[in-house]
Symmetry: C3
Subunit: 145 residues, 3 copies
């Protein structure tokens, strides 16, 4: 692959990692599901296999939970024209309470967790998608979990 | 537009978003004003219209306020060769006190706010600039505001 | 330099800054040392001159210290085909305690420090490396230092 091709893949996979945060934080769950391949695995505590399981888990996500997934340190390792892997750091902010469903700021309690995602990316007809994403928490605020 | 042209615009708008943080945090207010078009709107609590209003608001910014605008999750959506929009996450750290005017670290109280910027970018003769930037806070530490 | 050459250097130096965090946080100290030129200076509190001094300081780094170096606001200023400088923001999370050597999350106490790195990069036969990196803390949690 040329340097330009590698750069283009890195850009696509980075954008996917950012879109993940935006989709869950802004409750665009239809968009969220489409970031994964049909048979993708998502493990953010309990492993989910396939888009249908991911969609189902979002249906159970409470409306009164507000989150912001702060994504940093994005590292993409391009393995081939059709596959890549990566590591991104996550700093997670959350608030549980009915004021979360309204507009405007809710109380900030400090980050709930800090860790990283371990990712596999696959090129599909619909562009680059997650084939696997797994969260690893390094720090966790016990008061918020 | 080619993929290379889109990538170049994304890079310019991302750099602008980072320059915004550096200019306000390191008190380079002359540079800060030049990140906006002449008739830009900046709304970080109260809307400011035009460079002169932005400059005036910086004149009133207290010297004893230290800030770090941590910018993440930068998303740039290129609309045309001359316009783009975007969303970036903000984690804001602040400290109010006379020790802020000296060098060296000041007490860390945890983030003051977490939210995002909603941006419009325009290509000008001076490069890509903000034509509109608006902050939306998702979480706020009431003790710090 | 062409826009593509500048973009390629920015990408390499950004990747280096992220690799720094990953190497220290995941204790890949051999990889960490190779991010610096033979005569590089690293100053994260006390200046270290050269790879051997950096390696020696890592030998003394306690196993029970867990860290996550959250790197954001990466700014790379390309000076020539072989040199660049940069500024990156750092939000540092740490935990001291024997549970840090095991897998799984440890208690989150909020960020220990927020500041920035001031960097010099040099192109070598082994790619782009740090020739100088210096940390400046803007905020510090006295309880954690």
């Amino acid at each position: 692959m040329t340097d330009a091709e590698t750069a283009s893949i890195e850009r696509a996979c980075t954008a996917l990692s950012i879109a993940y945060a935006r989709a869950v934080d802004f409750r665009d769950y239809d968009a969220f599901v489409l970031l994964f391949t049909e048979d993708a695995t998502l493990d953010v505590g309990r492993p989910l296999h396939g888009r249908e399981a991911i969609r189902e888990s979002l249906r159970r996500r409470p409306d009164e939970l507000r989150s912001r997934h702060v994504i940093t340190n994005v590292f993409i390792d391009v393995l081939s024209p059709d596959s890549a892997r990566g590591i991104s750091y996550l700093t997670l902010y959350r608030h549980h309470g009915e004021e979360s469903v309204r507009r405007g700021p809710v109380p900030l309690e400090g980050p709930a967790a800090v860790g990283h995602y371990e990712d596999r990316f696959t090129r599909t007809n619909a562009g680059w998608l997650f084939s696997a994403r797994r969260a690893h928490l390094a720090f966790r605020d016990a008061a918020q979990f």
